[in-house]
Amino acid sequence: DAPCAGFDEKLAADIKIEPSDPMPDAYRKTLIRQISQHAHSEIVGMLPEGNWITRAPTLKRKAILLAKVQDEGGHGLYLYAAAETLGVSRDTMVAALLDGSAKYSSIFNYPTLSWADIGVIGWLVDGAAITNQVPLCRCSYGPYARAMVRVCKEESFHQRQGYDLLVAMMKGSPAQRAMVQEAVDRWWWPVLMMFGPHDQDSVHNGTSMKWGIKRFSNDDLRQKFVDATVPQAEVLGVTLPDPDLKWNAERGHYDFGAIDWEEFWQVVKGNGPCNRERMAARIKAHEDGAWVREAARVHAEKKIARPTH
């Protein structure tokens, strides 16, 4: 088919597809869905961590957390920009988030209930995100791949900071160590769900693989994450809340227990612990900001209309 001339050849030769290149409509739509969902996740992801900025226990930790959340806003911006190269406006994407038709990562529908959660989000949530995202740096769509290079670099930094926070707390009082363990207990399973359904239940895997958007399956990435994380948990001195977790010498991987997919689908459907709060916060920010955006628009028009002096 003429409109996509060269598309398959480029994919085959591992040459990046660029915004002006012909591409199949379904490829474009898949990318828009995925990149905007990723951008929304960065923005919504500011909320659970933002919840603790005002309560950070030292000024250094407060500064680190502020810088991290600021980076997440920045990631949101590059990703919206990458999606815009596919012909969709940021306003359209944001509207889809606010009306509930676009998704964001379900992990952000869990609450942050103690300071240790900030460390665990860095260590486990960012760790899982990196596992998912590193392959995207080689994604077939150029602007997305390049955005992901930058995102992954910063996320690795965040992950180390999160782990460092937990190491500090584990060197503290028994109450602090208990706080870390409790946070790990709460986050472990939701983090494993971040890789999505098992391969046999996953809708988008096949075509995304074919198009070079996705390079590893959900289950492969999940296994990679578990294998990397178990030794880190041992060093930290926390127990991962899974009695079935153990090394399988034959497979050369850790085995782990069954995931509660019922919980996963409930959260995806909007019934997670914080879905309503997250959407309400985004909608309120948008509505409260309407007068500001309108004033900025009107001011810009006035500037154009006025003779320059």
Binding site: R55, A63, M169, A285, G289, A290, A295
Partner: protein, 252 residues
Amino acid sequence: MAEIDNKDLIEYLLRLGDSTLVLGQRLSEWCGHAPAIEEDIALTNTALDLIGQARQLLSYAGELEGSGRDEDALAFLRDELEFHNLTLTELDGGDFGRTVLRVLLFAAYQVVLWQALQRSTDARLAAIAEKSLKESRYHLRYGADWVVRLGDGTEESHRRMQAALEYLWSFTAELFDRDEVEARLAGVVPASDSLRSAWEGIVLPVLAEATLPVPIAAGCLSRGKYGIHSEALGPLLAQMQFLQRAYPGGNW
């Protein structure tokens, strides 16, 4: 030049350090709630700069005090009446308009103050001033830009900005009030009242461009920097200090 008393310098550093800390804390409340991502990032970044300035100022105060209190002991283990921040910095944030107006008013104050403190005979304070000046100039541009856009925007934005100005303006007199602590620090720090005209030189043209008439100053002087605050500071500190209070001696 007479020897200065460290107690005076500590007091002065707390006034500056607490002001940057408390405004940083207020601005960080916006995180995830601003009118656009760009503003989320900008306000968070401003908060980050202010927290950074607070760390340097409070660390220096703690070292001068010499009783082992570091930046965190000063930030998290003093109660309201021991805080010496400007009242302007602690007031409830209000809407985005009041927020950017406060950024303008405070950053303009910081710019003129840092310019003067760059020439302080206290080398450490001069170095902090030099490093901070660049940041405050950036905050000033950000605040001024938004104040102009919102003041000279729609009818609603103008009304909101005028109300914000009426409210905040009465707390600006405190910025230029001077007491004996400053008098005894002559040479090391500028007299606060000497900063007013430079500050007005920055702020008044912005307000004029924003079509916002300057209110008449109120008769009562707010006294946050002398330790007498508004009702807004207590709840802010209760949140900020919770973990250090609830888990004394913790390792973070």
